[in-house]
């Protein structure tokens, strides 16, 4: 069903995806962003597979020769490393009405761009990279920007769900080493 062409066997950043796949992936990510922007967290959480890992690793400033150490490994510091159970827990908390860092809730708008698709290791799954620019406004005049890249694995979903994919893995790499925000309670 899905055809994704790699034009050369060398390490090229160029990924050519058939129009239909590209289109479907993009519309899926936009739909996901819409659920979050519109506070539809209970529907959003269903977009994740039960075996998902949702991970925001720590990041530090390193010289070029140590750049491979810039983004933390999984046994190092992270901002979030959740499975489905705890990701669900965050949704439960944020919608509880007593979660004071999101009650009253922040307003957020997600811009998802630079969507690149290629086949994943497992047949049928897709490796999808996207860039995001998330603006959050909170209370009277507080504002934050969260900018970074997502590394998603998308798995075909039951069409009855209304969505073509589920997210089977998400790694989020932020551009900031020191998070210039008092809290990261906005889902990325």
């Amino acid at each position: 069903m899905t055809t994704v062409d790699q034009p050369t066997p060398v390490l090229s950043a160029f990924r050519n995806t058939d129009l239909q796949t590209q289109h479907t992936v993009e519309q899926f990510l936009y739909a996901e962003a819409e659920l979050l922007d519109d506070y539809r967290f209970d529907e959003w959480i269903d977009l994740f597979t039960d075996d998902v890992t949702y991970w925001i690793p720590n990041r530090e400033t390193r010289p070029i020769r140590e750049r491979h150490l810039e983004v933390a490994a999984q046994d190092e510091a992270a901002i979030i490393l959740d499975d489905k159970f705890f990701l669900k827990g965050r949704v439960r908390r944020i919608t509880s009405g007593i979660s004071w860092s999101e009650e009253p809730p922040s307003r957020a708008r997600r811009l998802i761009t630079n969507i690149r698709v290629q086949p994943a290791a497992k047949p049928g799954e897709l490796d999808v990279r996207s860039n995001f620019y998330v603006y959050r406004s909170r209370l009277e005049r507080h504002q934050d920007w969260f900018v970074g890249q997502r590394f998603d694995v998308l798995r075909p979903a039951d069409p009855a769900s209304g969505y073509p994919f589920q997210i089977a893995n998400r790694k989020i790499v932020l551009e900031q080493t020191t998070i210039l925000a008092p809290s990261l309670t906005t889902f990325l």
């Binding site: 720590n58 390193r62 933390a72 046994d75 510091a77 439960r92 008092p182």
Partner: protein, 448 residues
Amino acid sequence: MVDLNELVDSDRGRVDPRIYTDPGVYERELEFVFGRSWLFLAHDSQLPKTGSFIQTYMAEDPVLVVRQRDGSVKAFLNQCRHRGMRICRADAGVSKTFTCTYHGWAYDLEGNLINVPLEDRAYKGNLDREAWGALKVPRIANYRGFYFGTWSDETPDFEDYLGDMAFYFDAVADRFDSGLEFTAGTTKWVIDCNWKFAAEQFGGDMYHTSISHASGPIALTDQQVVRGDPNLVQGRQFGGDGHGSGGYIYPERNMPPNFFRGQQEHEFTEDHLDEIEARIGDTRMKKVNNHNTIFPNFSWLGFLWTMRVWHPRGPNQIEVWTWSFVPKDATEALKREIREKAQRTFSPAGVFETDDGENWTEVQQVLHGFKARQNTFHVGMGLGHEERNAGGLPGVTNDVFSEVASRGFYRRWHDLLVGKSWKQIQKEEAARVSAIPESQPELAEGAR
């Protein structure tokens, strides 16, 4: 102009909110409070080999903390003596020398100036390299693998500075035969609030937890959260020498697994019960494992395995630097469990921590008002109900829902700020402590 003497009245439990906002007070506290206190620099495990370094701060001053060839740890101001450039600009790494990227002056692992480009032609023999090394942190204490530094030669030795807090710090720092290690990497974020809100709260505030963090447990369990009656819960709070430590008292040396305490941690504790008891004793296993601050800005939560420094960034902002810590000989599975729990609860996305930042930023915002700053804050909880050496806990303690630690924190802060000598500060502290009544037997009973 603010009258420094009027800012804090610990005898009555009152503080003037301008201690959180006034630029003049802030400038003075950098020099008189931070400049005369022991500040946390690094843990042994962050500097695994010769040349390992981290860049950190002593208040606003950037310092490089470096593992030396002889295994010791030294620190120096990360500022080139030529024109003030930051000498090293990586957060961490391993290096043999540090070369300033402005004009190329190079420093060794101790901060000595060892190379100057074009030295003969440019300086013609007139540069005394020995005199122009980086500014060294003159005093560094290694306390059970935790390195603290101070610029001041007047400040008492670290153990003396800790006072009775050593007992409470050891409950964590000296708990295991194998010692502790930090998870690699420092998680950092920024909160627009004065550093004292954070430092004081971690030393002395169990009162806020069930309200501020009402939603925290909801994220950790899908079961109904059953809350005990806070009127019945047992707990003590220690306050002394500006430090604070407090928390609930547990009936057993090991707690059954629950949403705060994972299976791995429960099993590890079970396997190490005798070891832990031999090291810290039954009292501390049950009574000391919650919130703590070593004055001025190093804090930890024992049972949530998180440590942090609240670096001041002007009167209205802090950088929070956090690490989770684990027993060195823990299994990979336990290390993972602890790390994830610490991250999940106390980090910029922590389901508890984010509530704290929300409070402090709002408090700071409100203080823009002139009326708000002319107000007086109440730090009088439990005033007059202090006891000495209650229930096997050394020093001055009070109910867990009290502000004995906060009053002590502000007193020490204020004494340093106004410029009292350390000698005088310690003399007054000793007199105050000895005037507090020894514990009553009923209390010792109740606190058991």
